[in-house]
């Protein structure tokens, strides 16, 4: 069976809760190296997402694409097009059978979308630094089932997030700070970790 619409909606609800509860943390992180809007922006976007009625969508894939479009139109900051692209691509590639390898490919399509949109590479202190190792671990553990793969991904994602602390930002507002951006955790990598951790709680 597919990872059904309701599980995916549960994933979004869990993520929205995490974002809402940690909005101040995200905004504070963003204040250190950016424009202090990441928490508020993501919270606004995810609230609009949970206002969607999942039962009106024919499939999880369609729902995920709508999540992407909703974020594009409601987040406002750079996270809008970045997370928007992520969900649009994930939705487009979301499998209609439950197969961890295919889910891995869908998530990777999302990562590729983010890289393409933001022109970010690994090591530039962005959410790519969290998502990329997470998907590597997901793929490595996909053979042991969704649950194991997602748990491994969540652990790697958090490690990637923590590893952004010493990095010097090369993208976005933080890059204006140059060397001074080192020593701060990247807010985008932080929210991305919440997304993958939410997936490990809801999709396995």
């Amino acid at each position: 069976m597919a990872i059904d619409l309701m599980s995916v909606a549960g994933w979004m609800k869990d993520f929205a809760t995490q974002i809402h509860d940690n909005a101040d943390l995200l905004t504070d992180l963003d204040r250190e190296i950016g424009d202090a809007d990441h928490g508020a922006n993501m919270d606004r976007g995810m609230r609009a997402v949970i206002d969607l009625d999942p039962s009106t969508f024919p499939s999880a894939a369609d729902y995920l694409k709508k999540v992407g479009m909703t974020l594009v139109s409601t987040v406002g900051g750079a996270s809008g097009p970045l997370y928007g692209t992520f969900f649009l691509r994930v939705g487009t590639a979301w499998p209609d059978v439950e197969n961890p390898d295919l889910v891995g490919l869908a998530l990777r399509a999302g990562l590729d979308g983010i890289i393409q949109r933001g022109k970010a590479a690994i090591g530039e202190k962005t959410l790519v630094d969290a998502l990329s190792p997470a998907l590597d671990e997901f793929d490595a553990n996909a053979g042991d089932g969704m649950g194991t793969a997602l748990q491994a991904a969540a652990v790697a994602c958090a490690a990637g997030r923590d590893a952004t602390i010493p990095l010097v930002a090369r993208k976005g507002r933080a890059s204006y700070l140059g060397e001074r951006s080192a020593g701060h955790q990247d807010p985008g990598a932080t929210s991305m970790t919440m997304l993958i951790e939410a997936a490990s709680r809801t999709l396995s």
Binding site: R44, G76, G80, T85, R117, G172
Partner: protein, 780 residues
């Protein structure tokens, strides 16, 4: 009239700037304008969907200019282009113009019914007026470098074939020397650095390979000058402009005409002489700090003197690099501070250069890794100088055994005294080894077993077979001497007859040609006796171009090659990218299995324009010099039919008429060669790929070379099948088998009519042809 869309984080800013700009033109002349700004009246943000809608509304068929404020406005605008009709997206341009000034310039220009490009150009120039008035415009607005915190930033993709190795790195260091600016260089691709651009050693440890992104941060009073110097250096590929195989080419130029008998293939017999290349420093008695500093300076001067003398007699450039390595500011500072910290000069030299050498050895690139030898070469010379002995290891006689061969030793080897060299741990591609080989010294590298040979032992080296004879007995010795004189006689005979045709014992004429990858290679080929070329590797010929060469540029090179070969027929293979041969101007996504991926003609089917241009160039060249064309990686008649149809189209445009053939390099085309009889005027068998695809051995993987060298009966059968199908037409072999004298008879027996080989081997291959007796011709 084009339309204009304003994208801003703030709705009030977006509306206000539109009102301001609208004042500039009367209402009836205003272009369509839409504002996509803010998430609502008060919430800052941008919305890709709203931008997409605004673009659709603003377009009246002439295109849309999108002006953005910053940050996510750019991302959202780019995303909007994906939401709209691709045709509309194609006539929509997101401008980097400043929002206020750019919008005003855009509205005014658009109202004159200017094109999208014209409006865009004006908008981007929007700041010029203000800059002029306030006098803070960058000196050269055409080449405005991107500012970094108070400095400039320069980015460049390295396209030198061996990356930023010693010579180009040295060109960079010396080019920037004396400019009053602090320049720090990083390898962005590997996230290494930044390091100072004044340190050759540090730059080399960045491991900048071809395709890596180099970034320089420039700060200081003369940063503009440094920026433009760096730009010039980069555009000349740091002095390596069109040098396709820099080390090899330079080596060849260094000793242009030495005794052609000294091929480096000769058997030599002589006494072992162990060169203690690492001098014994235990006798060194350290003085106080000023003494040690003075000794270091004296040693550096002595070594510099030796290097300068060597450099004068050489165009190789290696000694210049060594000089820069020696005088590297970073290195010298480190040495001095070590000595000031109480370390004797000799220990400072030992520690520092050992650590540099280790850094090079840690680099994941065999070419740069071999540069560790340069570091150790300098270290040895400095230590010898500090010990008060001769800087160079001396002119020893006999067969020299040494741990490794550095360029200084290689350059000072005396052909009157030194018979050959055996290294016990060095690799086969160091500067020193290349240099000694080009100077005609027989070499064996990496022979650990030679370490224990006592001085004075009688040795013999057969460099062709890679064999070392230790203390050969009388019988072995006489066999060796016999072989030695036989080989010498054969070389002499091959040289004497190199320019004569090669005919077998039964009277079959075999064409022996050169494989060509550069214009210089064509000159060398003619000199070696080539009867034209059976393979011109276009992808190697233009491998260091950052843009696809134009029709005229290609034609010019092809004509130059034909001319260099005395207007004998050359066979031009169309672009064969992919696998292990990427082209910088032809980006390809990495493939998990490139050898089985998009290679050769498969790439051209995706990018037919590149093939069309090349065919036009080949046809143009054919009007000046005899040319054939052949297509690589053909597996089915459909592909060949497609390639020929492109050739027909090109012929219609350019004129000319040429023979068209194909590479047979897959089992598919060899097995079904008969299917191509109506499509190919000739075939050329690429035995390297044919072997790889038949025996399932990766040609670049040294752990399976033994399989490739083993039983090749299947490959031989395929060669015979292909040649048989094309009986009566030219059948060429251009792979490595053709360069193997032992295989020549069998190839001819199979029906091969042309052999295209490495230029230096032409004489020998012609001799191998002549040695083919009547008997093998019995076949028909």
């Amino acid at each position: 009239m084009i339309g204009i869309v304003v994208v801003s984080h703030s709705r009030s800013l977006g509306l206000a700037v539109s009102d301001l700009a609208a004042q500039m033109v009367p209402p009836e002349a205003r272009p369509q304008m839409r504002v996509a700004a803010g998430l609502d009246e008060t919430t800052f943000g941008t919305d890709a969907a709203a931008i997409a809608e605004a673009i659709m509304e603003a377009d009246s068929g002439a295109g849309v200019l999108v002006l953005v404020d910053l940050g996510s406005a750019i991302l959202s605008a780019e995303m909007a282009l994906e939401f709209i009709d691709p045709e509309l997206a194609a006539r929509t341009k997101i401008s980097s113009a400043p929002l206020v000034e750019g919008l005003i310039a855009a509205i005014v220009t658009a109202s004159t019914s200017a094109t999208l490009e014209e409006v865009c150009a004006e908008a981007v120039q929007g700041l010029a007026g203000k800059q002029d008035q306030l006098g803070d415009s960058p000196a050269d607005s055409m080449a405005t470098p991107a500012p970094t915190e108070g400095g400039l930033r320069f980015s460049w993709m390295i396209r030198n074939p061996h990356g930023l190795h010693a010579r180009p790195a040295a060109a960079l260091v010396s080019g920037l020397r004396g400019i009053d600016a602090t320049i720090r260089i990083s390898n962005t691709t590997l996230s290494k650095g930044p390091v100072s651009a004044s340190s050759l050693t540090s730059i080399q440890t960045l491991g900048l390979r071809r395709g890596d992104l180099m970034e320089a941060e420039i700060i200081g009073p003369e940063s503009e000058k440094a920026y433009s110097t760096l730009t010039d250096l980069a555009h000349s590929n740091f002095g390596e402009s069109k040098d396709i195989e820099p080390s090899i080419n330079a080596t060849r130029l260094d000793h242009p005409r030495q005794d052609p008998m000294r091929t480096g293939h000769q058997i030599v017999i002589g006494e072992a002489r162990y060169i203690a290349i690492d001098p014994d420093a235990s006798e060194y008695i350290a003085g106080d700090v000023p003494t040690e500093l003075a000794r270091l300076n004296a040693a550096i001067d002595a070594v510099a003197q030796t290097l300068e003398n060597l450099d004068k007699g050489s165009t190789l450039g290696i000694y210049g690099v060594q000089l820069l390595t020696l005088k590297d500011e970073f290195t010298l500072d480190e040495l001095r501070s070590d000595i000031q910290g109480g370390l004797p000069a000799i220990e400072a030299v030992q520690d520092r250069f050992t650590s540099f050498a280790e850094q090079f050895e840690a680099i994941d690139d065999p070419y740069l890794r071999a540069r560790a030898e340069d570091q150790r070469g300098i270290q040895r010379m400095l230590i010898r100088a500090l010990l008060g002995s001769e800087v160079s290891p001396g002119l020893a006689s006999g067969i020299l055994i040494m741990p490794e061969l550095d360029p200084i030793t290689a350059g000072t080897l005396d052909p009157e005294l030194c018979l050959g060299v055996i290294t016990t741990s060095g690799g086969a591609s160091g500067h020193g080894v290349l240099l000694a080989q080009s100077r005609g010294f027989p070499l064996l590298t990496g022979r650990a077993d030679a370490r224990t040979i006592p001085d004075g032992t009688l040795l013999a080296i057969d460099p062709v077979e890679g064999r070392l004879f230790i203390d050969p007995d009388d019988e072995e010795l006489s066999t060796l001497k016999e072989e030695q004189s036989k080989r010498a006689a054969a070389t002499a005979e091959a040289i004497r007859l190199a320019h004569k045709p090669a005919v077998t014992g039964s009277g079959t004429r075999i064409i022996v040609e050169a494989n060509i990858a550069s214009i210089q290679g064509a000159h060398d080929g003619l000199e070696a006796g080539a009867e034209g070329s059976g393979l011109v590797r276009t992808e190697v010929l233009f491998a260091d171009w950052d843009h696809a060469p134009s029709v005229d540029e290609q034609a010019e090179v092809f004509i130059a090659i034909g001319k260099a070969l005395n207007h004998q027929t050359i066979t031009i293979r169309t672009w064969d990218p992919g696998g292990d041969k990427p082209l910088p101007f032809l980006p390809q996504d990495p493939e998990p299995n490139p050898m089985l991926g998009e290679r050769g003609i498969r790439v051209m089917r995706r990018l037919p324009d590149l093939l069309d241009d090349q065919l036009a160039a080949i046809l143009l060249a054919s009007q000046e010099t005899p040319v054939r064309v052949m297509f690589p990686m053909i597996t089915s008649p459909k592909e060949m039919l497609w390639a020929r149809s492109r050739l027909v189209d090109a012929t219609r445009k350019v004129g000319g008429q040429i023979q068209a053939g194909m590479m047979v390099e897959t089992p598919a085309s060899a097995l079904r060669a008969r299917d191509f009889l109506d499509l190919a005027d000739f075939i050329s068998i690429g035995t390297n790929d044919l072997t790889q695809y038949t025996l399932a051995v990766d040609r670049g993987n040294s752990s399976v070379t033994e399989v490739a060298k083993g039983d090749r009966s299947a490959v031989w059968d395929l060669i015979a099948m292909a040649a048989d199908a094309f009986k009566g037409r030219p059948v060429c072999v251009c792979g490595d088998i053709a360069s193997d004298p032992e295989s020549v008879a069998r190839l001819i027996a199979a029906g091969v009519t042309e052999l295209s080989v490495r230029a230096p081997l032409i004489g020998m291959i012609k001799q191998a042809v002549r040695a083919v007796p009547c008997a093998v011709q019995i076949r028909e």
